[in-house]
Structure formats: structure tokens, C-alpha cells
């Protein structure tokens, strides 16, 4: 029996904004990293490390916000390992990234042993006063925690910095041609290391959003592949922040929608519903990327000043 009235559109939209947030953080961080010409496949590892660092600190201090700060620090710290391997030791970026993911999964399992089954402190929603009482729009837009809004702000800020500021221009220059940037006197390795740390911090916050808000609990391996989806999203969004946001909402939205439709007993075969988030997100973003946008030219290439 189909019963679409069982789906509450307000809860549905609010639900997918939450579901998309970890993806937004992880992907926007990776976007900046790739814009600087570095391919870090360790997103999953940095996310799960952020998830446990954030969880542990939130539980110990009772403050979810301190937890998120710790998650950012944890993710950034782990990414420094990647920065060392790829920028100082000039190791292969793909191999180093994969190693980072494996290391992060193991490290987080170790750190998290005493946190299984613990309930984390709840991060309250921001009080928007009368705004939250606006029919429909209020409950959808004005009943969330600060991290969710921060994710959207981060996308906007990344877009603005990349497009309008000198720092963004330098970052893009390093990513397009590290030799030219070096010849102009920019510190390619320093800039890339900073970008890698930014990516690590963002991935960490994304991971903590899963362990502190979306689930909320600590379980080993709980990111379960979201880091990989974030990586794919950066490519399908053609390294453009707003498309990335759209892609994350599409993915999160359709994931929630298909669960809702299943619950309501809609007569669409479940197999199709289950694959729809991947399929539709890819199709929409591929159509959008029909323009000439391409990957940063130096993406994944090792830089050494003598070469």
C-alpha cells in the first residue's frame, strides 16, 4: 500500500541537510587540496580520525564544540603525515593517500576502544527566535546546529577566496603549474602543506559530524565509505564549490528520499531506489560539467624545486 502522506516533507528536507553535511565538509576540504595540485586519497582515514577525536573530546569535556575543534585538529594532524610523505619525502601521492586511509582506520579503532556505547553530549540547535516559527521554512532552515551552517558558509568562503582573492589565485597557480608558481617565488611546498592541512581539518569535522550528530555514537569504521564518495564528488563537481554543494545535497537528498519512499511503500523496485543517489548525482553533475572545466593541470604530480 502506497502512502505518500506518511512522508513529512519538512522532516525530510531537514533530514537531508544533516545527511549532506559530512559530505560537504570532506569534499570542500579535498577540493582545496586538489586545487593546489595534490591528490589526497586519505579522506576516509582523516574523517574517521576526526570522528573519534571529536567524539572523545566531546565526551571528556562535555562540549560538542570543543569536540569539533579537536576533530579539525586531529584530521589536520593526520594530514601532516601525508604532507610529510608527499611534500618532503616526495612519495607517490596515490599510495600515500591509500596508506593514510588504512592508517586512519586502524588508529581510530585503537583510540576508540573505550568509547563504544557511550552517548555523546548533544550539540543544541541555534536559537533563531521567531524565525524558527515561520511555517514550513522555519523548521526546515532555522532548526539546525551551528556546524551545519558552517558547512554552507565554508562552501561560500572557499568559492569567494578561490575566485576573488590573491591567496586563491596563488593556490590555483600552484595547482595549475607548480613550476611557474615556483619561478614566481611562491613556496609551492608550503602552500600545498597548508592546503593539505585545511583538507584534513575539514575531513575531520565531517567525520565528527557523523559521530556527534548524524548517528550519534562511536563505532569502528563508522564513516563506511563517505570519504570515497566525497572524493568522487569533487571530480564530478568539476572542482567548483557550488556544484559540489549541489552534488552533496542531491546525494544526501536522494538517499533520504529513497529511504522515505521505501518506508511509504512506493511501487518503485527497491533496487532502483537504492542505486538512485549515485546514479542521479553523477548524471546531473556530468551534464553540468559539459563546459570546458578540467582538473588542475598539476594534480597528483610531485614537485621538486630542482626539476
Amino acid at each position: 500500500m502506497m502512502d505518500l502522506s506518511a512522508i513529512n516533507p519538512i522532516l525530510f528536507v531537514a533530514g537531508f541537510l544533516v545527511a549532506a553535511t559530512p559530505l560537504i565538509f570532506a569534499a570542500i576540504g579535498e577540493l582545496v587540496v586538489e586545487k593546489s595540485g595534490v591528490l589526497n586519497l586519505g579522506v576516509e582515514g582523516m574523517m574517521i580520525t576526526g570522528a573519534i577525536c571529536g567524539f572523545a573530546v566531546a565526551v571528556e569535556t562535555g562540549s560538542p564544540l570543543l569536540g569539533f575543534a579537536a576533530a579539525a585538529a586531529g584530521g589536520a594532524l593526520l594530514s601532516l603525515l601525508f604532507a610529510f610523505l608527499t611534500q618532503i619525502a616526495l612519495a607517490n601521492q596515490v599510495a600515500s593517500g591509500l596508506a593514510l586511509t588504512l592508517f586512519g582506520l586502524g588508529l581510530s579503532a585503537l583510540l576508540g576502544q573505550s568509547y563504544v556505547g557511550v552517548k555523546p553530549p548533544r550539540l543544541g540547535d541555534i536559537d533563531f527566535g521567531p524565525l524558527a516559527d515561520i511555517p514550513v521554512i522555519g523548521p526546515i532552515l532555522f532548526t539546525h546546529d551551528i556546524i551545519l551552517y558552517l558547512g554552507i558558509a565554508l562552501v561560500a568562503a572557499t568559492w569567494a577566496v578561490l575566485k576573488f582573492t590573491r591567496a586563491g589565485l596563488v593556490l590555483r597557480a600552484v595547482g595549475e603549474s607548480h613550476d611557474a608558481a615556483h619561478a614566481l617565488g611562491y613556496h609551492v611546498k608550503r602552500i600545498r602543506t597548508l592546503a593539505i592541512m585545511f583538507g584534513g581539518a575539514c575531513a575531520g569535522v565531517g567525520g565528527a559530524y557523523i559521530s556527534l550528530i548524524r548517528v550519534p555514537q562511536w563505532t569502528e569504521g563508522m564513516t563506511a565509505g563517505i570519504g570515497w564518495i566525497a572524493l568522487a564528488l569533487v571530480v564530478f563537481a568539476s572542482w567548483k564549490p557550488w556544484r559540489l554543494l549541489l552534488g552533496a545535497y542531491l546525494f544526501g537528498g536522494i538517499t533520504q528520499l529513497q529511504l522515505n519512499l521505501q518506508g511509504a511503500g512506493v511501487a518503485i523496485p527497491v533496487e532502483y531506489l537504492a542505486m538512485s543517489p549515485y546514479l542521479i548525482t553523477i548524471i546531473v553533475l556530468v551534464i553540468l560539467s559539459a563546459d570546458k572545466s578540467a582538473a588542475p593541470a598539476s594534480l597528483g604530480r610531485t614537485f621538486h624545486a630542482s626539476q
Partner: protein
């Protein structure tokens, strides 16, 4: 020349060492679908592994690989274990069925044990637990306690084991509450806490005040706790950290006695390919403590149901039961045979929706 000789000697020495080791210790491998810290399915299999080490001490060496994807990659992991000298390999998820058979063909001297599947060979046994017996008790409690009459069910994959659980829970919920409705959401994963939590939230938003899960993590428990007035059941493991509410009881898989017996059989040279399917009676399925969140009389009924299943007086699939399409399946007083249960691919009458094919 020198190098070749050196390598040959080394290889020979390594071979001898492995041979000597194999004589001393029985090496037992485990292939896990999730992390050992999932708090559910894989956690309990790992508890069984630890019990094995406890039992045999130095006579046994166990190895395990976690987070092994179902499908071709699992074949690689099993092959590696066999090459590393494992004498007995437990593959602990339904999707390892064909890979287990394939690898077993290549290593006729290694014994394999596949959980929850139905394909056997001379060196492949199958084993599973009658989880559906526990589902009957959950269904009874769920049907008695729901106020919205909507019970949410998070399925993993549409395989017989999961469908049996849904049917068993539904039959017993319906018995005590004719108005009960099951909302079933397929997650298409055994372990993905974020997705499992999302599925639970969606079911709760759509009115469910009981959430049953057939996925491996405790995420749905956390989502139910967050939502408030919802009850859940521990799946595969006790999940007691969410007691007394939302978790009001649980199905606990107890693999330790089986793992110990089968390893002993390998040590004694008496191992044979078998098919084991045990339930509450022999202790492979345990029912976790029913908490005080359950009304006393419901708890009493549930325990009586448990006892009658354990003693064999009552079979959870006892007729009259019709299939979903209304055709007769079991006549009054008949009980389901194991063959039909093992391959169950239909819903019983009253459940809405189609099983994904």
C-alpha cells in the same frame, strides 16, 4: 648460482618451518564482513574466536581479516589465509558463499565453514543460527507494545535469512495485535552506521514506535534513543549499552561452542562436512534480558514463548499461514520444513510491499 642456491635453501627452510608449525598449532582463520568493534554481528563472531583461543591456548593460532567486502575481494583474502597455512577457515557472511566454494576447490586439504549459506562441499560445512526463533519473541513484544501500530524494520539484503526474520516477527506481532503494520526499508548494507541511523530516523518520522534491525551496527539504537519514545532490540549482540530503553531485549548469537567443537574436530581429524542450524534450545541463539521497559505480563508471555520454542513444543512457523498472495502455505498445525525456511523468498500474508528481486 649462489643466489639461486641461497633462495632454494631459504624456501626449503621456510617450507620446513611452516610444516613444523602446522604440526604444532592448528591455524584457524576468520573472514569478517565488518569491524570487530561493530557491537553486533562481527563482534560476536570475534568473541567466538577469542573463546577458541581461551579454550585451546597455544595449541591454536587464530587470524582474522575485518571489513572484507562480499564478492571477489573475499576470495583473495581466503586464498591468502589458505596459503598462509590455515587449517580451518570460517567465512562469516552470506555473501561469501560462492567465494568460499571457489577457494575450497583450490585447497582440498583446508576445511572451510561458511555461515548462513546453503552451498556445501567435501571440505565446506555450513552453519547458522535460527535467528527467526528470536524474531518471534521480538515480534511478540513489538506487537504488544506499539501504540502507533507501525513497526519499522531495517533490512540489509533481501536474502532468505532476513526474510525469515521479517516473517517470523510479523506473524507474532500480528497474533497479539491484528492492526499492526510493518514498514520495511532495505539498506543494502550490513554495516554503515550513518545509513542505518538514517533508515531508523525515517521509519520513526513515518510513525514507527518500534524499530527492528537486521543490520550489524548499534546506530539504529542511537537514533531511537535520540528520538525518545521508541523501542528497539539488540541484533546479533546484546547491545546492552542501550538498555533499558530503547533496547528492551535482544538476540545474541553465541558462536563459541560451535567454533570450539569444529576446531577440536580438525585437531582430532574427525572433521566432516556438515550443515548445522541451531536455535534457542542448543544455545546458539540467546535472548538478551527483557528490560523493565516491557510491561510485566508481556515479559512473562515472551519468556513463555521462548521456553516453548527452546523445548521444541512450539515452532514459530506453525500453520495456518498463507503466503502474501493469499495462497496457502502451511495448513492448521503444520510446521515449516527446514528446506523451505532455508530458501524462503516470500512474505507471509499481511505484509505489504514486494521483496526486491
Amino acid at each position: 648460482m649462489k643466489l639461486t642456491k641461497l633462495l632454494t635453501t631459504a624456501a626449503l627452510a621456510a617450507g620446513l618451518a611452516t610444516g613444523a608449525l602446522a604440526q604444532d598449532k592448528t591455524k584457524v582463520g576468520f573472514v569478517f564482513v565488518g569491524p570487530v568493534g561493530d557491537g553486533g554481528w562481527t563482534y560476536e563472531h570475534n568473541e567466538g574466536r577469542l573463546a577458541l583461543e581461551e579454550e585451546f591456548g597455544d595449541a591454536v593460532e587464530t587470524v582474522f581479516v575485518e571489513n572484507v567486502a562480499e564478492g571477489p575481494d573475499s576470495e583473495r583474502v581466503m586464498t591468502q589465509m589458505a596459503l598462509d597455512g590455515a587449517d580451518l577457515i570460517f567465512t562469516t557472511s552470506f555473501g561469501y558463499m560462492d567465494p568460499t566454494i571457489n577457494v575450497a576447490k583450490k585447497f582440498p586439504d583446508v576445511k572451510f565453514e561458511h555461515a548462513t549459506g546453503y552451498k556445501r562441499a567435501d571440505n565446506v560445512s555450513t552453519y547458522s543460527a535460527r535467528f527467526y526463533e528470536g524474531r518471534a519473541i521480538q515480534g511478540h513484544i513489538a506487537g504488544s507494545m506499539t501504540k502507533s501500530n507501525i513497526i519499522g524494520y531495517i533490512g540489509s539484503y533481501p536474502i532468505p535469512e532476513v526474510i525469515r526474520g521479517i516473517n517470523s516477527a510479523y506473524i507474532h506481532a500480528k497474533k497479539v495485535n491484528p492492526d499492526v503494520q510493518f514498514k520495511i526499508v532495505w539498506a543494502y548494507t550490513w554495516f554503515d552506521p550513518a545509513k542505518e541511523a538514517d533508515a531508523a530516523k525515517v521509519l520513526i518520522e513515518q510513525g514507527a514506535d518500534v524499530v527492528l534491525q537486521h543490520t550489524d551496527s548499534t546506530a539504529p539504537q542511537a537514533a531511537a534513543q535520540e528520538a525518545g519514545n521508541v523501542i528497539t532490540f539488540g541484533q546479533a549482540s546484546d547491545m546492552a549499552q542501550y538498555a533499558p530503553k530503547p533496547r528492551v531485549s535482544s538476540i545474541i548469537d553465541n558462536w563459541a561452542p560451535y567454533y570450539i567443537a569444529r576446531t577440536k574436530a580438525v585437531m582430532d581429524g574427525t572433521w566432516e562436512s556438515t550443515d548445522t542450524w541451531d536455535g534457542i534450545g542448543p544455545g546458539m541463539v540467546g535472548i538478551g534480558e527483557i528490560t523493565d521497559a516491557v510491561p510485566a505480563e508481556v515479559k512473562e508471555q515472551a519468556l513463555a514463548l521462548k521456553d516453548s520454542i527452546a523445548s521444541g513444543d512450539y515452532h514459530p512457523f506453525t500453520g495456518p499461514i498463507n503466503k502474501q498472495d493469499g495462497s496457502a502455505w502451511l495448513a492448521e498445525g503444520d510446521t515449516a520444513d527446514d528446506g523451505t525456511l532455508a530458501g524462503m523468498n516470500f512474505y507471509v500474508e499481511g505484509i505489504e510491499g514486494d521483496i526486491p528481486q
